[in-house]
């Protein structure tokens, strides 16, 4: 799809989501918030998994770390935006340091290492009760205001994050970094030989894949006002986000937004109608995706458009 068409569609999508509080019920606002949230997470993963081709399962580690950082900051009296910023910064720093170690591994080993990080952080959060409330979780101060007001605050927060992640994606895609990451994905040694500082670029991609997740985590903690190791460092989340990007089209600007939107909407419909079988249906969707949509929806749509 042409860049300009895509940009216009994206803008329309953001406007539709933003208009939800005035057009529909609280439930729709909540869904819109999730759409923006997963859109952000998908766009984030796309940097390291889509462009660079490193199968990262660290998303939940970043979201969880952001959640705990934000929650602790908020409980210590920080203002919300400051707490969320802290979540983003701490997570980005963590990713930079972690990246130095873990990005040396390739393929399967990198994937395993990244999942292990999620588990390790989850276990640390369970252990370190003094700081994190341990296995029982942490309560966060409620935001004052009625449910509609709160709904709007978090909808716009997540939307802002999604737009920020989107802008970052466009800039990376068009610039030197994006080109370099694609080269790294194709042939890392050749990329090195051609003058690309492979280590530095991979770390940039990894940090980009973390920073917005950290902010999302912190905002999420403020929204639901209670976090625990299990749901902050959710293995299911960390496995679902790459699937969303695969569904939409990895390594593209619009793929993550398309894929996450399709996935979230599908999941909501399935939850509502087939509660008992919802996992099996999602599993089936994943299996069908792998077999029949190798390039994601975006490639399917552009092929149809070309025909």
């Amino acid at each position: 799809m042409k860049q300009r068409t895509g940009l216009i569609l994206f803008l329309l999508w953001v406007l539709v989501l933003a208009a939800m509080p005035w057009m529909a019920s609280n439930y729709a606002v909540k869904i819109a918030t999730f759409l923006a949230m997963y859109g952000t997470l998908a766009l984030s993963w796309n940097f390291i998994g889509g462009y660079t081709g490193y199968p990262s399962f660290a998303t939940a580690a970043f979201v969880g770390l952001g959640a705990y950082t934000g929650a602790i900051a908020q409980n210590a009296g920080w203002m919300l935006p400051a707490a969320w910023l802290a979540g983003a910064i701490v997570t980005a720093t963590f990713a930079a340091l972690l990246g130095l170690v873990i990005l040396r591994m390739k393929g399967h080993y990198f994937a395993i290492g990244s999942i292990a990080i999620v588990e390790v952080l989850s276990l640390v959060a369970s252990s370190w009760s003094g700081m994190t409330g341990g296995g029982e979780g942490l309560n966060v101060k409620f935001l004052p205001g009625g449910p509609e007001y709160i709904g709007r605050v978090f909808l716009y927060t997540m939307l802002t994050l999604m737009v920020a992640a989107f802008i970052a994606t466009v800039l990376v895609d068009r610039g030197r970094l994006g080109f370099g990451l694609r080269c790294i994905q194709q042939n890392e040694d050749a990329a090195d030989m051609v003058g690309i500082d492979v280590t530095r670029y991979k770390i940039y991609a990894f940090v980009l894949s973390a920073v917005f997740c950290g902010a999302v985590g912190a905002a999420y903690a403020s929204w639901v006002a209670y976090i625990s190791p299990g749901d902050s460092f959710s293995i299911l989340l960390t496995l679902k986000v790459p699937v969303m990007v695969l569904l939409g089209g990895p390594g593209t600007v619009f793929g993550p937004v398309l894929g996450s939107a399709a996935f979230v909407l599908m999941e909501e419909t399935i939850w509502a109608k087939f509660l008992d079988y919802h996992q099996a249906i999602l599993g089936l969707v994943i299996v069908l995706l792998i077999f029949f949509l190798p390039g994601g929806l975006l490639r399917l749509l552009s092929r149809k458009a070309a025909a």
């Binding site: 080109f179 080269c183 194709q186 042939n187 040694d189 990329a191 090195d192 030989m193 051609v194 003058g195």
Partner: protein, 254 residues
């Protein structure tokens, strides 16, 4: 006398118990075309890998334009102007031919923007004769074309030294002649060349000077015509018995 561009001093590398490169010393002056020959397994590619930072040296040093670059990493070598081609060609397979060369211009070649890099890349593609194939995926090219793509990519990196590792492997006679013409054209641009080759015809016709590597050691260097008659070189390629016979025949003839 031209400036010394590259200087290799007592360079060694061992892998476990195997000495792949052993105390190699040589210098490269600007504008030279130097041939690097030796039997299979002599360590020629390893030497190139050491100079470009793919492997760290076990001992010794490499100087480039007066700077100690022994510990450099491959991307740093590329940015400094040391480029090399691969025996087994390594493109970015899913990217187009143009994008492959653009990678060279954009990064090592330090183009100011992507558009600028593409323009430069196109010029290099025309130079090597691949202009018409610019939009094709790199994986779809034939072997001779892939070799030319490697050359174009290396040129896009704006090298001062270009190390050509067996560019002619797998080419037929007419393709080799074309390759030779291309290499001469590259040298005419002022790029210093190290040519690793098996084909004596190519080496002798292009090189001003030859280095001979055997079991990782530099056993001979100098004028091409002298080197090929050097008994040590003959022994390395054809065995000690043959060298002995040659000596006897030469002795009997005098």
């Amino acid at each position: 006398m031209s400036d010394i561009l590259l200087s290799v001093e007592n360079l060694s590398r061992n892998f476990g118990g195997i000495q792949a490169v052993r105390n190699v010393n040589f210098t490269l002056a600007e504008g030279e075309i130097v041939g690097l020959i030796g039997p299979n397994g002599a360590g020629k590619t390893t030497l190139v890998n050491l100079i470009t930072g793919v492997f760290p040296a076990s001992s010794g040093s490499v100087f480039f334009r007066g700077e100690d670059v022994t510990r450099q990493r491959p991307f740093q070598a590329a940015r400094r102007g040391i480029a090399r081609t691969f025996q087994i060609v390594q493109p970015f397979p899913a990217m187009t031919v143009l994008e492959n060369v653009t990678a060279g211009s954009l990064f090592a070649g330090a183009a100011s923007s992507r558009a600028q890099a593409e323009a430069e890349a196109m010029a290099h593609l025309e130079f090597v004769g691949l202009g018409a194939d610019a939009r094709r995926p790199a994986a779809s090219l034939t072997l001779p074309s892939r070799k030319r793509l490697e050359l174009a990519k290396s040129l896009a990196m704006k090298p001062r030294v270009l190390m050509l590792d067996e560019v002619n492997a797998g080419l037929n006679t007419s393709e080799i002649d074309q390759a030779l013409a291309l290499i001469r054209a590259i040298a005419a641009r002022g790029i210093t060349i190290i040519l690793i080759e098996h084909l004596m015809k190519v080496v002798l016709s292009l090189s001003q000077r030859i280095l001979v590597l055997h079991h990782g050691e530099l056993i001979s260097s100098g004028d091409p015509q002298d080197v090929v008659k050097d008994p040590k070189v003959i022994e390395a390629y054809l065995g000690s018995r043959f060298a002995e016979r040659q000596k006897q025949l030469a002795g009997a003839a005098s």
